[in-house]
């Protein structure tokens, strides 16, 4: 009996591992920054470079930090969704213009539309490293106390927006500041 049972057991165990492997997405690296304070920065605004902003400027509100660049092709895919989100005026949408030329970035926003409450210039990508950015676009949801609650690597699509991001924002809005 054991003679047949052991290969069967091995088969089942291997199948489970392989099945789990099929479902893994190695591109999605879990961020160690979840539930940690948003890393500090002091960056010039894209439209008003003389004005610098820090994360504490957004304390007391739920905000999205969206990492984008004019050279980023998949940013174009999520752009209509961001524009739509901006139209609803429900949330502060902060852009982190990552490793970009400000002239290119401004032109890109003019051409495609500007969904951002404000965009910040991270010209050399140093702040991107602090946020663990490795694939643009990336989106962070940050709560009223400045804690990162969710991170998405890759473009926001309608499913992720309605199933994950918007419900999370609703919950976070009810939390005390």
């Amino acid at each position: 009996m054991a003679k047949y049972l052991i290969p069967l057991l091995i088969y089942i165990v291997v199948s489970i591992f392989l099945a789990l492997g099929l479902d893994l997405k190695p591109q999605e690296i879990p961020s160690p920054l979840i539930d940690k304070p948003a890393p500090a920065f002091s960056l010039p605004a894209l439209h008003r470079p003389e004005k610098t902003l820090t994360p504490s400027d957004f304390l007391g509100q739920v905000w999205l930090l969206n990492v984008w660049a004019s050279w980023c092709v998949s940013c174009r895919a999520e752009h209509p969704i961001l524009l739509q989100l901006a139209k609803q005026n429900a949330i502060t949408l902060v852009g982190l213009n990552y490793k970009d030329e400000s002239a290119d970035a401004l032109q890109w926003l003019q051409h495609h539309g500007d969904p951002y409450t404000v965009s910040l210039q991270d010209a050399n990508g140093r702040i991107g490293i602090d946020y663990g950015v490795y694939g643009v676009p990336e989106t962070f949801v940050i709560d009223k106390r400045g804690i990162i609650r969710y991170k998405l690597t890759g473009p926001v699509d309608n499913a992720i927006l309605t199933d994950k991001i918007l419900p999370l924002i609703q919950i976070l809005q009810t939390e005390p500041a």
Binding site: Q27, I29, P32, G125, G128, I129, Y134
Partner: protein, 156 residues
């Protein structure tokens, strides 16, 4: 005149290929040989998160270049290797390390191969012993005599 054009072309091609080779390796100045060594060992154990199967030493991705530069900056500020590793894992998680530290989350990763080897050896050993014993047992007394007869016949 024609020859001169070829010479010029060759010079241009050489110039550009030199530029390509230059782009892959940045030149860093280290205060001590220990720092240079720490840099080399760090960049060959940190993973490039864009390409995932390359270290940041091997990769030409933009992010790899930035991370190499970050490692260099930190080392030249006198920070230790461990501080650099901590800096990277705080931002990118254990995945950034080709040699992740041993903890509950990575236990399967570290112990898995050994467990598979031991299971395999046990199974092989068990199987070998069983088949040897089996070969002895399956010949009944009658068959053994028959075999003996056959061997003797063959000898005649």
């Amino acid at each position: 005149m024609k020859l001169n054009i070829f010479k010029l072309l060759a010079a241009i091609i050489l110039l550009f290929s030199a530029g390509l080779a230059w782009a892959a390796v940045e030149y860093h100045d280290f205060a001590t040989p220990e720092q240079a060594q720490a840099y080399q060992s760090l960049i060959s154990e940190l993973r490039c998160l864009v390409c995932q199967n390359q270290t940041i030493a091997d990769s030409n991705a933009d992010l790899a270049k930035d991370l190499r530069n970050q490692v260099y900056q930190m080392l030249s500020q006198g920070q230790s290797k461990q501080q650099v590793v901590d800096f990277m894992t705080e931002r990118y998680g254990d995945f950034v390390l080709y040699n992740p530290s041993f903890k509950l989350k990575t236990a399967l990763l570290w112990l898995g191969p050994a467990a598979f080897l031991i299971t395999g050896l046990c199974a092989a050993f068990h199987y070998a012993r069983q088949t040897r014993r089996g070969a002895e047992a399956t010949l009944s007394e009658a068959r053994r005599q028959e075999l003996q007869q056959l061997l003797e016949q063959d000898g005649e």
